[in-house]
Every structure is written in C-alpha cells, then in structure tokens.
Amino acid sequence: MSQSKANATPLLQVRNLKKHFPIKGGLFGRTVGHVKAVDGIDLSVHDGETLGLVGESGCGKSTAGRTMIRLYEPTAGEITFNDPQSGPMRLERAGLADLRRVWTNMQMIFQDPFSSLDPRMSVGRIIGEPLTVHGIATGSELRDRVGELLRRVGLRPEHQSRYPHAFSGGQRQRIGIARALALNPKLVICDEPVSALDVSVQAQVLNLLEDLQDEFNLTFLFIAHDLSVVEHISDRVAVMYVGYVVEVAPTDELFRNPLMPYTEALISAIPPPNPRRRGRPMKLAGEVPSPSNPPTGCYFHPRCAYAADLCKVERPPLREVTPGHFAACHFAEKLSLRGIDGPMPAIDGSTAVPASPQA
C-alpha cells in the first residue's frame, strides 16, 4: 500500500511503525505486558503540506510524532526521511551522527510552553543552542541570527537576554517556534502547539505558523486533538485510534465524507458554535480501550454502531477506498456516514442569518 502521490516521493514516510512500552511488575521488575502506544502505522508526509494527526487522548498520536523524529526508539517499522541534500535516509537504524544531520532538517514544537523551555537559560541561549550544537554560528553572528528569528516570530531582538519566566504562554510558544526554526528545517513536528493557549492567542500562533510555512516552505506534521484547529490548518488529516491510523484523507474529504465510523463519531461530538444547531450529538458509548489490552478484531468494534461479526474477529487494514482516501473499515464502501454538512453560518452573523428585531 502506498499513500504517496504517483510522482512525488514523500518527505517522510513511515511503514508499520510500532512503539511498545513495557509494563514492569512482579518481584524483579519483570516485563508483564506492553502498552502498544503505536501499533503499526503507515503514514507519509509530503513536501510542503500540513498533515494533521488527530485522535482522543491516549490514542498514541504524540508517541507517533516522537518516534518518527527518534526521540523514542521505535519497536519495529521503517522511517524514511528524504533529505533534500543527502537523499533518503532510514532513521530507525541511524546512528547519532546521522541523526544529528537529519535533525537539522527535522525539528519539533512541543505542547507545553512552560515545561519545554529551560528556565535557567536565557531566550538567546535557548534559541541559539541548535546553532551552537551544529557549529553553524558563534559570537555576534549568533546574536544576529537569534535576533532575526525573534523578530520573525513577533518578538523583539532585545528579548534575547531575558529568561522564559518573563514571557506569557503565547510568547513562550513563539520562543519554542523560533528554536524549531533556527536550523531552517524542512519538516516541523508540531505536538499540540496551541492547545495550552487561550483562544485569541491560539489564533495568533496559528496565523504565525501559516505565515512561516509560506515563507520558509515548511512541512508540518500537526498533532492536535482539537478538530476545528486541525481542519483549519491541515491539507490532509490522519485519524488515530488506540495506536492505529484508521483514516487518512484530504481535509475537506475527511470532514465531509468520512469513511470510518470513528471519524463520524468524532465529528458529531464537536459542539457547533451556533445556538440554532442544537442537535443531540450522536452518542459514542463506552470509553477508549486500554492500549495494553485492546479488543479483538477492529479496535473500535465495541463502540461502533455499525459493527458486524466480521469486525469482532478480523482487524481491517488501512486501505485506499477512493483515490487518496484511506480507511480501516471492512464496510467503508457500504456505510454512508455523516460528516459536517455544508458550511456552517459564520457565528458573528455576518452571513445571512435573520437579524434580531431590535437594535
């Protein structure tokens, strides 16, 4: 199975990627089981696109992102990064020297702007560290580059001498973005970059990410649980459920025409910001199963309204149902699932909503 466009090699491609964490227990800390956080995913990220990765908490989306950049050792699978300079490289068995080289093109932005910045390092050192580590700039050149990066993310160059505690959450996230961009990477893995921020700050950071993407021709793997944010920023979206990618499609296609019942349930659970649309959301019964003890067959079948006997025994593979639209469901062709229907009226009433009689 290949998700790549016919003529383009993806920038990052993973095949059957697995990451299992051992559960230690018993007398001598024996391994008594595994949390299968990521359990065989296939994904490709194309040059210049934004791929959204969504799912409920505990579905393995952050683990997937961290394993792809080799912050975690993969348990199994292939990770291929097509470095624009040095060609394809297999990351799952790369040594540290090779990884260092790849990391100049692959960077990460973290969720929590409070724990991802060292409180004892000045902002200048935080942002300049990648440049120092890779021996790219020193001295006044380093100061200039850091100042320029700060300016690019909407902060002032003179902020370099300050420490993270002097900044608000949104400003800290900008510092994290500047650090990720310091080496001028191709691919940035954004792990919930806006979920810790207030709505108005979230909008500022999302705009900044989109501007920087245009300016530096960046590719984003955008991990988030907020579907409206992912829908806003992504070109394609991948949905994960208990360590497994269950659906991948271009954003509009996925939201309007989902092929996997779990995606339908996720979409129906979003409360529409429109008081005139008060439908009872489709009830998704039960809870996410534990990745250490998943159900048999399709992991979603105990909660699925359409489950049949086949779903209880056989796990459906992720397959291309319609061109470019992949789903892991035995009945993807037969079900007709509901996505969002039509554009929702803008909530500030700027589209044709009957005006209130007064005022």
Partner: protein, 376 residues
C-alpha cells in the same frame, strides 16, 4: 435576612424576571506581596430560574473567581471587598450570601444544598482517601437525611442517573480507579446529590476529550430537566456555550462587558471584544484557509490599571478622548441584553444613535483585514 436594595442600574435584575441568583457589583481582590490584583471588578449578572447562563472569557478574566465567590470559597489572599450576591432558593427566604460568615453554619447549609459546584479537574476536587459512595453520602447526610442507609440509597440513585456503569460497584470505588470522564460524572453526581437550585459548573469539560465532553453535556442537560435547576456554566469554549446556554455573559478583565440571550449574542454581538473573540476561533466547515482574525495586543498584566474602558487599548473601534478616559457602565441595550460600551451608550447613559456599527458586522475601521459579505 437583608433588605433588598433597589437594583443598581445595569444588572440583570433590571430585565425584570425571576432570577435564582443576582450578583451585583461584586468585587474580589487578591492582596499579594507584589500588589493588589482586582480579579473581579464590579461584576453584575443574574441567572434566571431553570435556565443556563454561560460565563465566557479568556483565562484571567475572573470567571472562575466569580464562581468561587458565590460559594464564598475564594482562597487566601483573595478577599471579597464589595457587592451583593442575592440567592432566591426554593424553601428559603431571599438572602444576600455575603452577609453570611464564610466559615459559619449558615453558609455551610447553602453549599451543596442550594448551590452545587463542579470543578474543572475532578482528580483534585475529589478526595482520594474516600470512596465515591462515601463522598456523595456525606453531603446527603448533612442536608437531606440522617439515616445512613437512606443516604446510601440516594447516592446510588444519583450515580445511576449520571449514567455511570455498574453504580453499585462504584459506591466502593476510589477516585483514582476511574477514568477522567467517569470521575467527572461522579463529581456531577456529587454536586447534584442534594438537588441544588443552582449549579456552578467551572469549566467542567475543558480537560476532557470531545467525545467524553459530548457525553457529559448530555448528562447535564438531562439532569437539569429532571431537577429543574439553573446552571452557571463557566467556559471558554463557544461551541459548548452555543449548545448549552440560554444566556451568555462575556467577561473581560474582571467585568461583564455584555450579557445577552445566546442566539442574539451569536447573531449580533455588540461589544467589540465579543466580536473579536468569536472571530478568532477556527470554525469547522467555514469558508476556509483564510487567516484567523486576531485581537491585537494581549491582556494587560494583572497589576496594570487601565484607565477608562479596560478593552480600549486593544479595541479597533476605540473613541479617543472617551474610551480611554471614562469607564462605560453595563446598561440595557434592549429588553433582554446588556452591554458596557460607548459605541452603544453615551456617557450619560442614553442610547447612542449614530456611529453604532451594524449588529453582527464590523465597522469599517476594523474590517480592513477581512471582507464581510453583506447581511442579506
């Protein structure tokens, strides 16, 4: 009992209706070693009986502190320095809660019985040392019955009603054994066990996944119908507001800047802050890929005192010489909406006729970035 003072201008009491609670000119200060933070700075609103009022605003606007102040649970160094909180509960004469000693028996008889509260983070709100059944029965024993067997039966009943699986087993379960969604349900059961008149819900779904959130909102709606209680729903999620609330109060820097019925607020937000807030959220299925509109600048630091209207430094429609000098009052905009903005009222309180931006549309000065299609 306190004599009712005549309602001050600009409270929901003006809107002439039956409110379970009326908060008037509430002030809460935090006296820290670095200075005084006015977390709540003259907040006024009312919650209609059997209805849901949403309180929205960004972090630090004072929405949670307001909820804690109603319970008189503002933690040190916070002090309630002024205002009135009038509760009109069933089987109880109207009373200004601020006349009660926060540590006294009178206030204790209100908490849980007449006003219940659910918190954002159930793991820190539930006591890890007691079983769920224990914690629910405790409130029932205090307020409703002195028979432990009866209390246990009531606790079991409410656990069943919030839709928890195998409720009898849950009675003997500790909080850490439950998932986040189940804990939040258990906390809702705890808050509703004495069928309060008013439920304060402080961001009850913020820490939850969207699917769990949908389940919790369903439970809250059902129980509201059952018990006939009012809800004050503190949140920053406008989607949740649209689905849950009958009325919405928007807060900015410790003040209510607008209160209106939910449909009216979404159709034609009056205050520039409300308009900006609504436009800054990405919307599912919206005509996409445009830039999001952002509110310029950031919330001023907590020790800064902004002269005039607190929003004026960030406001696209700021009137120089007025908004940065005088502070607007919260005044009626029509029969059921209130707004605190000089775009809608003259400083003397009369309605402003000219220069009012068309409701729901942005005035020319602020629409430079986005083209708004005409209203019809």
């Amino acid at each position: 009992m306190v004599a009712m003072t005549s309602p001050a201008a600009g409270t929901a009491a003006d809107l002439d209706r039956d409110n379970v609670i009326d908060v008037r000119n509430l002030q809460v200060e935090f006296r820290t070693s670095l200075g005084v933070v006015r977390a709540v700075n003259g907040v006024s609103f009312g919650v209609a009986r059997g209805k849901t009022l949403g309180i929205v605003g960004e972090s630090g606007c004072g929405k949670s502190v307001t909820a804690f102040a109603i319970m008189q649970l503002v933690a040190n160094p916070g002090v309630i320095t002024g205002g009135e909180i009038v509760l009109r509960a069933r089987e109880k004469a109207p009373v200004n809660l601020l006349t009660y000693d926060p540590n006294g028996d009178d206030m204790r008889s209100v908490r849980g019985r007449h006003v219940g509260m659910i918190f954002q983070e159930p793991m820190t709100a539930l006591n890890p040392c007691y079983t769920i059944g224990n914690q629910i029965a405790e409130g029932i024993l205090l307020h409703r019955t002195s028979d432990p067997a009866k209390a246990d039966a009531m606790a079991l009943d409410i656990l069943t009603r919030v839709g928890l699986p195998s409720p009898s087993r849950l009675m003997t379960t500790y909080p850490h054994q439950l998932s986040g969604g189940m804990r939040q349900r258990a906390m809702i059961a705890l808050a509703l066990s004495c069928e309060p008149d008013l439920l304060l819900a402080d961001e009850p779904t913020t820490a939850l996944d969207v699917t769990t959130q949908a389940q919790i909102l369903d439970v809250m709606r059902e129980l509201q119908d059952d018990i006939g209680m009012s809800i004050m729903f503190v949140t920053h999620n406008l989607g949740v507001v649209a689905q849950m609330c009958d009325e919405v109060a928007v807060m900015y820097l410790g003040r209510v800047v607008e209160q209106a019925p939910v449909e009216e607020l979404f159709d034609s937000p009056r205050h520039p802050y409300t308009r900006a807030l609504m436009r800054s959220i990405p919307q599912l299925g919206a005509a996409r890929k445009g830039r999001l509109e952002v509110i310029q600048g950031s919330v001023p630091g907590q020790f800064t005192k902004v002269p005039g209207c607190a929003f004026h430094p960030r406001c696209p429609d700021m009137i120089p010489g007025l908004c940065d000098v005088q502070s607007p009052r919260l005044l009626a905009a029509n029969d059921d909406a209130l707004v605190s903005c000089f775009l809608h009222h003259e400083p003397d309180g009369s309605a402003r006729v000219s220069d009012v931006p068309t409701p729901g549309r942005v005035s020319p000065s602020s629409s430079s970035a986005i083209a708004t299609p005409p209203a019809s």
